[in-house]
Symmetry: C2
Subunit: 338 residues, 2 copies
DNA sequence: AGTTGGCACTCGGGCCCGATGAGTGCCAGG
DNA sequence: CCTGGCACTCATCGGGCCCGAGTGCCAACT
């Protein structure tokens, strides 16, 4: 087991490296931190830390930088979550409070998070299947054409066109609308499939085709893959990476453009607690030199979606975690209010 | 005026430079193109072109590269629009055809355009004010709370929460919904303000407050600034820029993140014809080394929004213009069908 | 008048080299 | 177990050098 002081040395290395972006040596360490020992002692500790794989040297005779494993230890044992200053909190509330609809909430959140953390922000739209139904609307746009609109308690609105096998009467449509809503309003979308299963049977023969078609479209909309949406922002912050970065930035931008990758990334995060994935812990190899800090958010206790940031492994973890957590809470509040 | 051959030399320079990304010299030019004259003659022509400001030398003894003015001349006089190959056309149709809703159409378009041009794609959502009303829906979510949903003929759906001054009865709401729709359906959103102006007066005293509030929210939604939305994609293509580019890429990413900037950029493009803005012709200085190729698209003759790409001034103009034009046409078709 | 080959000149990029200095590992002594 | 001393390593930086692509100009040719 590592002694207390060695952990302290690791913490100092992480902090300095995050600050300066340069490998940190034993002398500089003793100067900037009150470790109470000489550089030579620190060197011994560093050698031990290196043996254990927590730090590494880029070149034979340079300072040390933390490895992924080192950051892991730092995050788990050495770092707290830094709370935001109260002006920051107020700024968040003001900024998020002005949103007019869900798109606006998500858009503002993503910008806010990017600005606070100076990193790339990712915000998932509230998942349909985890939300509850506020209303289902059916609109006849043409004789055999219906628009299906789903509205969730979080304010998300999804619409689909439905081409019906036969013209639909206005009364039949109103009937379907009423019966559908009486069954599903206030229930979770995830439960909708069972709740509507036997609905076609209760209709006249001639309308069953239409009813089934509408319901089929409704169920399609709830399929995992398609129902997830997200927004990203702050990609300009990637340029603050290393100076070498055509190579660094490229795969990251590519990964960010693939919604599937990002959704999987967020999906891997735990629902309740804040999750930090460091470097190679991320499955996607384009993100092997970045860390992902993510957390669920929701209007109640349960998470309806996740948000987080993507940044270099060399990031200010306590500050980033603080910002992510705070933003998630405020977004939850906003959603609960609307 | 420039002689025929000098124009030919300029065209050759642009083509070679776009291909190789390196300054092109007189000798290389004569080797790669059948100009029928010797390098020395080309040198004289180049000197003339430089005097006129169409080309420049990065260093005293290097080849020439086109200036913004040179590209301008190239685009206006020397370049056509390169049509896509028929497999490309088929791919576009297949890919866009699978979209399930407007978000999906826009999302697919942006990815498609980015992939075809290997540049950053920007697609604006169909403008509300230029679309026509398909339906206006009012939903009572709570006694004094109404959700307003606007649906356009292009499939765009906008929703707003309305907090009413007093509880609203279901019949009053149905009444308002019916009267509102009978007035505005099929009309252009831009005309809605006049069409509903006198609507509150026709209601009972007790409901007027609610009606006015709902209408006020409706009109707010149509205000220029807020009603415009857009989607961007292909930012990873920025990394194919120069090799120097922390400095090059940064301001571009920043500009792209500001919706306002992008909207203004697209707004400057002409409605009907394809517009090419080269380098400093763009007002925003972060984009002074990029070109923007944009064109309007719509389900009918009239443009309901614009789309385009942003790339280095050194881009393949004929190919890019061809792709942009083709995609705009297909998107228009898709919208007309839905 | 326009075109051409010849020629001197410019200057950025690549390469080698030596100096510099931060940082290390090891060891002997406290 | 800590510390100061010491020899060693090696990346970085700047200077000097050469090379060659590319130019501008000029005199000669058509």
């Amino acid at each position: 087991m590592l002694s207390e002081r060695r952990l302290e040395v690791l913490r100092a290395i992480v902090q300095d490296y995050v600050g300066t972006e340069e490998p940190v040596g034993s002398k500089a360490l003793t100067e900037r931190h009150q470790l109470g020992v000489s550089p030579a002692t620190v060197r011994n500790d560093m050698a031990a830390l290196e043996d254990e794989g927590f730090i590494a040297q880029p070149h034979t005779s340079a300072g040390r930088i933390p490895t992924d494993k080192g950051y892991r230890l730092f995050v788990d044992k050495l770092a707290g979550v830094k709370p935001l200053s109260s002006p920051e909190r107020r700024a968040i509330q003001n900024f998020l409070g002005g949103a007019v609809d869900l798109d606006d909430v998500v858009g503002r959140t993503v910008r806010l998070l990017a600005q606070l953390t100076r990193q790339v922000a990712v915000v998932q739209y509230p998942s349909l299947t985890r939300s509850t139904v506020r209303h289902v609307e059916l609109l006849a746009l043409a004789p055999a054409r219906v628009m299906l609109v789903l509205i969730t308690d979080t304010g998300r609105v999804e619409q689909r066109m439905v081409d019906c096998p036969a013209p639909v009467g206005e009364t039949a449509l109103a009937d379907l609308r009423a019966r559908l809503n009486s069954r599903v309003v206030g229930r979770r979308f995830a439960d909708v499939p069972q709740l509507v299963q036997d609905l076609p049977e209760s209709f006249e023969q001639e309308d069953r085709g239409t009813v089934s078609t509408v319901l089929a479209t409704l169920l399609e909309t709830l399929v995992e893959e398609t129902e997830e949406r997200l927004m990203i922002g702050g990609t300009a912050n990637l340029t603050r990476f290393g100076h070498d970065f055509p190579l660094t930035i490229r795969p990251v931008l590519e990964a960010l453009e693939e919604q599937v990758v990002l959704l999987k990334l967020l999906g891997e995060a735990e629902d309740s607690a804040m999750t930090v994935r460091i470097g190679h812990e991320n499955a996607h190899e384009g993100l092997s030199s970045t860390s992902v800090v993510a957390v669920g958010y929701g209007s109640g206790d349960e998470a309806v979606a996740k948000l987080g940031v993507v940044g270099p492994t060399r990031m200010d973890y306590p500050g980033t975690m603080g910002a992510v957590r705070a933003v998630a809470r405020y977004v939850g509040q906003i959603l609960a209010e609307s």
